[in-house]
Amino acid sequence: VKHVTTVIIILFALVMLGFAMQRGLIATPTLEQILYLVQMVLGWTAWTCLVALAYAGLEKLFPDILCAPHAEDPPAPNS
């Protein structure tokens, strides 16, 4: 059943995309647009990795501040 719903979701998304393209709401992507998308993904991945590296470095430098375990809270009454 789980797989069926996953397939339904994917099919639904594809049908919507196809419909939107057919109606001209989303034009078939040009090479330029695909390149823009690739650049965007690569660019943001690089930026995120840079930030992650910087933060990992800070974690090494200040483990007492940044890696200190958080105290356990008392359980909420509704849980």
Partner: protein, 703 residues
């Protein structure tokens, strides 16, 4: 007779035209998107339909009203459809509207009938929601001829009636509600006075000349406090996530609904009817319907509370029907039926629509499109729930460290869309803090928004009425009736208090020596702020200061009395509200202990009471610290790069998430924000320091 037939034909034509307009694939897509968001927000812990509607509002600026309301009502109508999922599966209501569903839904899930209970909840939600829309549909022909005879004085009286609803919207705290409502009216008057050109409370800031924009205010008051509480409680639903086979028994659940169709009709009437009475919707409707089913259904005394499907059907059909009911006074009179409707009233203003006669005459198409939107949203929402229950169930247990960074980024973008100035972000922060403090100290927030939304209207109609009719407008019959109802509405809580205390004399002697509580500091702060505003207004022209002075004085009186009550009134456990009575009745019938030891609070309450105050303050300070740092980093490198910094820092520091989750999550978020807001919507971003120093880098989105 002929004119009546003509009227009906005109309305039928408008309804048909509205249906055709709404059937446009693009609008249907937005409606579907709204439904999906409504379901998701209804299920995700910590963010409800109220915050969701506020978050969505700024992104409807460029849409036509049909599309905008399809999106907003799609979201608003389906939040209650998603609510029963956590209520039935984990025993934790997704929102106030499904609190009664837990009583029978959760025991059913424990008995292995989760699929049946969910199916019954979806189907009854669908039927109730469609019934609510139908109720609005048939009310329009009745209201239309009446609305055509209303002039400015009557519209002013309706607005005053709307404001008087603060007493109802405020539940257990009418004085605080009145203070908040009056403060809201004063906020609405910030900026240039249209009559005299006087600058009111602008503090020499150019940003405030046009008044405070509604969007950052709404996002601050309703969305940020939810996020702050999410960080403070640091938790999703701590529950067993192995929910079993949700699909088993779904057919039986549907059959149950059709077998109990008469119960659905009755409870939908209760939902739609109560929903149309401003102020007493979400928290009370499900309890009243549940109580009704308990009293009228055969054998209910023996089976309700132990897993009877009729209990689920009763509460779920009523809470979906209330949306159609609540929309009716909002559209027809500009008097919002609930807090969500108060936000929707903001959407009316943003799209240049004036609630009242116009909505039933020249904008009748839009009104009917709203009716269709609610009906279709309920059908779509229930369909989606049937198809994707297991996926939605997983949303109930999403961690705060995943929800908060994504939502915060969208809130910043939404707030900046108001006037595209940094002032929007400062307003967001200031009202976020105000909203959170109000939520913590149980000050009702809906009256504040009601005041902001209706403040301008009241002042405008008052001047038109006085200019046109002098003081004779006060004698017009409709005005007199409405103002009387407004006065009764405002005084009802006090009269109720007197009744509960067994007379005025006993009430006035029920005092003790003053005692201090930290929550009183906020009341003192409000008195200080409002007092300062009143003092400043004394210097203005007569026409500019009359309304602020009157409203400010009422606010000071209400806040002062509230403070006196808090300090000197003896503690009590008395109840009197409609909700309390309904809950009490249900609990007595079920033989449960009386848990309703205090009056109901008609706003979302903080779920952080189990934590020590020092922890709450520390985490709240950290949350608002994050917001400040976010803004500072944003001013240097731009909004989208800041999201990456925030995601990495927040997920690692707050919940020690693994890197293999943090990095893909951040990248997906950045790409989605870039694509939707920069590429598709071409949102202009706030200027940044790096962008000004190195203009060649401006190809990077948001820099």
């Amino acid at each position: 007779m002929e004119s009546f037939t003509g009227e009906l034909a005109f309305m039928a034509a408008s309804a048909g035209k509205a249906f055709i307009i709404l059937m446009d694939p693009v609008r249907l897509m937005y409606l579907g998107a709204g439904c999906m968001m409504g379901l998701v927000l209804g299920i995700i812990p910590g963010i409800g339909g109220l915050a969701g509607t506020a978050m969505l509002l700024p992104f409807t600026f460029n849409m036509d009203p049909y599309t905008a309301f399809a999106l907003l009502l799609g979201l608003g109508s389906t939040t209650a459809t998603g609510d029963p999922i956590p209520a039935i599966l984990f025993g934790v209501p997704g929102g106030a509207a499904s609190a009664a569903t837990v009583l029978d839904g959760f025991p059913m899930a424990k008995k292995g009938e989760a699929g049946r209970a969910l199916s019954a909840a979806y189907m009854s939600s669908l039927m109730g929601g469609v019934f609510g829309a139908f109720l609005m549909f048939i009310s329009i022909p009745v209201l239309r001829p009446i609305m055509l005879f209303l002039g400015s004085p009557e519209l002013l009286a309706f607005s005053v009636l709307g404001i008087s609803m603060v007493a109802v919207l405020s539940g257990s705290a009418p004085l605080r509600g009145m203070t908040a409502g009056c403060f809201g009216i004063m906020i609405a008057m910030v900026g240039t006075d249209p009559q005299s050109g006087t600058l009111r409370w602008t503090f020499d800031s150019l940003y405030l000349w046009d008044g405070l924009p509604l969007t950052p205010l709404l996002l601050g008051v309703f969305a940020l406090p939810e996020l702050c509480d999410l960080l403070i409680s640091r938790t999703a639903i701590a529950a067993d996530t192995s929910v079993g086979n949700i699909y088993k028994g779904q057919l039986q659940g549907m059959k149950d609904c059709f077998q109990n169709w008469w119960l659905i009709v009755r409870c939908s009437w209760i939902g739609g009817g109560i929903g149309s009475i401003p102020g007493i919707s979400a928290s009370v409707v499900d309890w009243l319907a549940y109580g009704h089913a308990l009293k009228t259904e055969k054998g209910a005394n023996l089976t309700f509370g132990k897993g009877d499907v009729r209990g689920v059907i009763a509460s779920e059909s009523a809470n979906n029907a209330k949306e159609g009911g609540a929309l009716l006074p909002t559209v027809a009179f500009g008097v919002p039926g609930s807090a969500t409707m108060a936000i929707l009233l903001g959407a009316f203003l943003i799209h240049g629509l004036v609630p009242g006669p116009d909505m039933l005459t020249k904008n009748l198409n839009i009104t009917y499109a709203m009716v269709w939107s609610i009906a279709l949203a309920n059908i779509l929402g229930a369909g989606m729930c049937y198809a994707f229950s297991p996926q939605f169930a997983k949303l109930s247990v999403v961690r705060f460290s995943l929800i908060l960074p994504a939502v915060l980024g969208i809130i910043y973008i939404g707030a900046f869309e108001a006037t595209r100035q940094w002032g929007d972000l400062y307003s967001l922060l200031a009202f976020g803090l105000l909203g959170w403090i109000m939520k913590q100290f149980k000050w009702p927030r809906p009256p504040l928004i009601l005041g902001v939304v209706l403040g301008d209207t009241i002042e405008r109609y008052l001047f038109i009425s006085v200019e046109r009719y002098g003081l004779s407008w006060l004698g017009r019959p409709v005005v007199a009736i409405l103002l009387t109802i407004a006065i009764i509405g405002l005084t009802r809580p006090f009269l109720q208090d007197i009744r509960i205390h067994g007379g005025l004399k006993k009430m006035l002697t029920n005092f003790q020596a003053p005692r201090f509580d930290p929550s009183q500091l906020f009341t003192i702060f409000m008195i200080g702020i409002i007092g300062a505003m009143v003092l400043m207004s004394l210097r203005w022209d007569f026409s500019a200061k009359i309304v602020p002075l009157v409203v400010g004085t009422v606010a000071l009186l209400a806040a002062g009395t509230s403070l006196f009550n808090d300090m000197c009134r003896k503690p009590e456990t008395a109840m009197g509200g409609l909700v309390d009575q309904a809950i009490q009745e249900v609990e007595q019938k079920l033989g449960q202990a009386n848990k309703a030891d205090e009056k109901i609070h008609m706003d979302l309450s903080s779920d952080t009471a189990h934590l020590p105050t020092s922890v709450i303050i520390k985490r709240a300070a950290r949350f608002f610290g994050y917001l400040l740092v976010f803004m500072a980093v944003m001013a240097v490198v731009g909004l989208i790069p800041t999201v990456a910094v925030f995601v990495v820092f927040f997920m690692r520091y707050e919940n020690n998430e693994r890197w293999s989750l943090v990095i893909p999550y951040a990248v997906i978020l950045l790409v989605s924000i870039s694509f939707v807001f920069d590429y598709v919507m071409s949102i202009p971003w706030p200027p940044t320091l790096i962008g000004q120093l190195f203009p060649t880098l401006k190809f990077i989105p948001s820099l």
